[in-house]
């Protein structure tokens, strides 16, 4: 048995690699690699075994063997999404009689008699671009999978997925063109519904938020059989449902608030200039689009439910009270104390008639005025797991005397120079 194996191997070594997959002048045959042509000119290389599964099966049969989907599978929609190998005509651009060496075969690729003369078998000069042309021809249809690379600034929340990405401004309504408006996708998913007729009906659901970064904002949900249409419809729905929110100093909300939509709640906090948007990614996107630049928002409950989160947030924004409105409602001065100004009182809003007394029972703590009696749960900061390890304690004791030495050294160097 071992000797037979050896003999087999030695045989193959003598045979040229081209001829292992030799092409025979048979219409039903397959050429797997481009250059492997058998020329019937001088040296003819032939394999011993002239018949293999490549040769006694048609191209259709071989391809169906690779990409088979049963009838039942087809009903379930298998083999449609691109999980199956697509059939490729590997001989595209190749004709019998034409090859690398440009030969004229009368009867095969030319007439036998031209006019009154017999056409002779002859070799014409080779076409140097033949290979390149063939490659180009074969790859022409295959550019569908390649998309333009997305710059990191344009990326959404994750990968190339739509949520978080901008989809332009809404379509103009009559004369009004939505200049300065930006729309961002918050949710983009495929949803299914069982119908009586067709069975499973799949549609794209798209939830977007649009705004002009100057107080105007609106959200919209739409569904369509294809993704593009869903996005377009949602964009235009959002444009129709626009609301205006007056912002405090043009950068943040007027006060802290708490809003809940079903099982999704959000604690929103007013923050100073330069704080940024420290929020759930959906709320961050909404703020960017409306024009809020500094905010803290803690989402609680079902935080995955973006639609409910958005509704809660918009409800809170709608119910916001400006400082002047608050002053008029309560009859008290609204006074701002800033640490960077030595807490010098700056009267931000004065009521028409100011109250003279305030009862002790009244809770006038501005930070929790709009929480409706709720108290926010602040999770205590957990210590690192190694906090009480012996090695860590030892290190802390050693390095304690060098704390601040980095900055002290820089100061000393500055003084020396």
């Amino acid at each position: 048995m071992f000797s037979r194996f050896l003999a087999k191997r030695s045989f193959f070594r003598h045979v040229a690699s081209d001829a292992k997959k030799a092409k025979f002048p048979s219409k039903k045959c397959l050429s797997v690699v481009l250059n492997k042509q058998v020329t019937c000119h001088t040296d003819v290389i032939q394999t011993r075994h002239s018949s293999s599964f490549f040769t006694h099966l048609s191209a259709d049969e071989i391809w169906s063997g690779v990409s088979a989907v049963s009838r039942a599978g087809k009903k379930r929609g298998r083999g449609k999404r691109g999980d199956v190998r697509k059939r490729v005509d590997l001989n595209k651009g190749q004709f019998i009689g034409e090859g690398k060496s440009n030969m004229v075969w009368p009867g095969l690729n030319s007439h036998i008699i031209k006019g009154r003369e017999l056409v002779q078998q002859q070799k014409l000069p080779e076409n140097p671009d033949r290979e390149a042309d063939l490659i180009m021809l074969r790859e022409k249809g295959h550019s569908r999978g390649k998309r333009e690379k997305l710059s990191p600034l344009d990326r959404g929340w994750s990968g190339r997925r739509l949520p978080g990405q901008t989809v332009g401004s809404p379509d103009p309504i009559g004369d009004y063109k939505f200049t300065g408006f930006d729309t961002r996708v918050l949710e983009y998913k495929l949803v299914t519904n069982m119908t009586g007729n067709q069975g499973r009906k799949q549609r794209f659901s798209c939830f977007v938020v649009t705004g002009n970064r100057n107080g105007l904002g609106g959200f919209g949900l739409a569904k369509a059989p294809n993704g593009k249409a869903a996005v377009r419809k949602a964009k235009n729905t959002a444009a129709q449902k626009m609301q205006y929110f007056e912002l405090c100093d043009g950068h943040t909300v007027w006060h802290n608030f708490y809003e809940k939509e079903e099982q999704t709640a959000v604690f929103v906090k007013k923050k100073e200039k330069g704080y940024g948007l420290v929020c759930h990614r959906a709320i961050k996107t909404i703020c960017e689009v409306i024009g809020i630049k500094d905010l803290h928002a803690k989402a609680e409950g079902s935080t995955k439910n973006v639609q409910r989160l958005t509704k809660a947030f918009f409800n809170g924004l709608r119910k916001m009270e400006t400082h002047q409105q608050l002053a008029d409602r309560l009859g008290l001065n609204v006074v701002e104390l800033r640490k960077e100004m030595d807490n010098y009182p700056i009267v931000v809003a004065q009521p028409e008639k100011c109250r003279t007394e305030v009862s002790a029972e009244e809770d006038l703590e501005f930070n929790r005025l709009y929480y409706g009696g709720k108290v926010e749960y602040v999770r205590p900061k957990s210590k690192p797991f190694f906090e009480n390890f012996h090695a860590h304690r030892k290190k802390v004791n050693l390095t304690l005397r060098f704390r601040n030495q980095y900055w002290a050294k820089i100061q000393r160097q500055a003084l020396m120079e």
């Binding site: 100073e272 008290l332 609204v334 960077e340 003084l415």
Partner: protein, 341 residues
């Protein structure tokens, strides 16, 4: 240097014991050295008078917005919003005004300190045993700064009192003051100092100087003088208004008898009361000046004119400024009459 300042508390206390006995017997004046010439007039003695302090505070002004302007601080946080009645608001403002007063506290004016020159003993027997100076510092609790004993044992065996510079440095080691650096920052030396003055960063320089130096340090007095002279030259007095340094500036100019430009600046800004206060201050500093005799029932314009005549070198600019002020007053009165008509 650093190593020489290390000392066990034990040896310090023992030395302190012998030290005290020395002073009682030999009567060394710990604070001052004996001087041959008579001491100069101490501006600090005049400065410290309550009347002078009041006048200087009046001149400094009280612009709340400038005093509490936004400063860069680390971690400022979200501004706090409070809902207050009018009375509560008033109280909050009063509390802040108390803080403002500390911000406007005038740094003391003193004569430059005289160099310390007191050798306590010359023990040549122990000469050459050490190769570095040793500083002995009394770090007992509760002793005022100026009364702390700091002595130096030189390698040649001399035991002497530490000089003022050495005192400052050693005190900084044991009793660090916020904002003070161990070595004098280069910003007080040329060319950095001149550059800062050119850029007009007077308040910054003066604040840093206040933090770094003692009020009787000659370097500090020199820095103040240069800054004030620069401001006077460029007539940029307004930069120091509503800061703690304006009083010092005004006092310096009064002592130097160079108050003309400041008076003109005040008249131009319609601060006539400040002009009168400045004149009063001049009369306090120089009690035997010619304008001291008070004339009652004289209008303030005439008072200022008289003062300019008698005391100032350049009375013309003051008279010109007064003239402009008078004209503007009259035109205002005229426009008011026209509007009522």
């Amino acid at each position: 240097m650093a190593s020489s300042m290390q000392l066990s508390r034990f040896t310090c206390q023992r030395l302190f014991g012998t030290f005290q006995s020395l002073t009682r017997h030999q009567g060394i004046n710990l604070c001052h050295t004996s001087n041959q010439e008579p001491p100069p007039v101490d501006p600090g003695a005049i400065f410290i008078q309550p009347r002078v302090q009041q006048l200087l505070h009046n001149i400094t002004g009280f612009d709340e917005i400038k005093l509490h302007r936004t400063r860069k601080i680390p971690r400022r946080g979200t501004p706090e919003i409070k809902l207050l009645t009018d009375d509560q608001l008033k109280k909050v403002k009063e509390d802040v005004i108390e803080l403002s007063q500390t911000k406007l506290q005038l740094p003391p004016i003193m004569l430059p300190r005289k160099p310390v020159d007191a050798v306590l003993s010359r023990d040549t027997e122990i000469a050459g045993l050490e190769d570095a100076k040793h500083f002995f510092v009394d770090i007992s609790y509760g002793i005022p700064e100026r009364k702390r004993h700091i002595v130096v044992r030189e390698p040649d065996g001399t035991l002497r009192k530490a000089s003022w510079e050495e005192r400052d440095r050693v005190m900084e080691v044991y009793y660090h003051r916020k904002g003070r650096k161990m070595t004098t920052p280069k910003m007080f030396e040329s060319p950095q100092f001149e550059k800062l003055l050119e850029e007009g960063k007077y308040e910054y320089v003066l604040n840093q100087a206040c933090a770094q130096f003692e009020p009787d340090s000659p370097v500090y007095i020199e820095v103040l003088k240069k800054t004030y002279d620069c401001i006077d030259e460029r007539k940029q007095y307004d930069r120091l208004r509503t800061t703690r340094h304006f009083g010092g500036l005004a006092f310096h100019l009064v002592v130097e008898r160079r108050i003309e430009n400041l008076m003109v600046d005040m008249i131009q800004r319609n601060l006539i009361e400040n002009v009168l206060d400045l004149m009063t201050l001049h009369q306090v500093v120089f009690p035997d000046c010619r304008s001291s005799q008070e004339h009652h029932n004289v209008s303030f314009m005439d008072k200022i004119k008289k003062f300019a005549e008698l005391e100032c070198r350049e009375k013309d600019i003051i008279e010109l400024a007064l003239q402009t002020f008078e004209d503007s007053l009259q035109s205002e009165v005229r426009t008011q009459k026209q509007s009522t008509v």
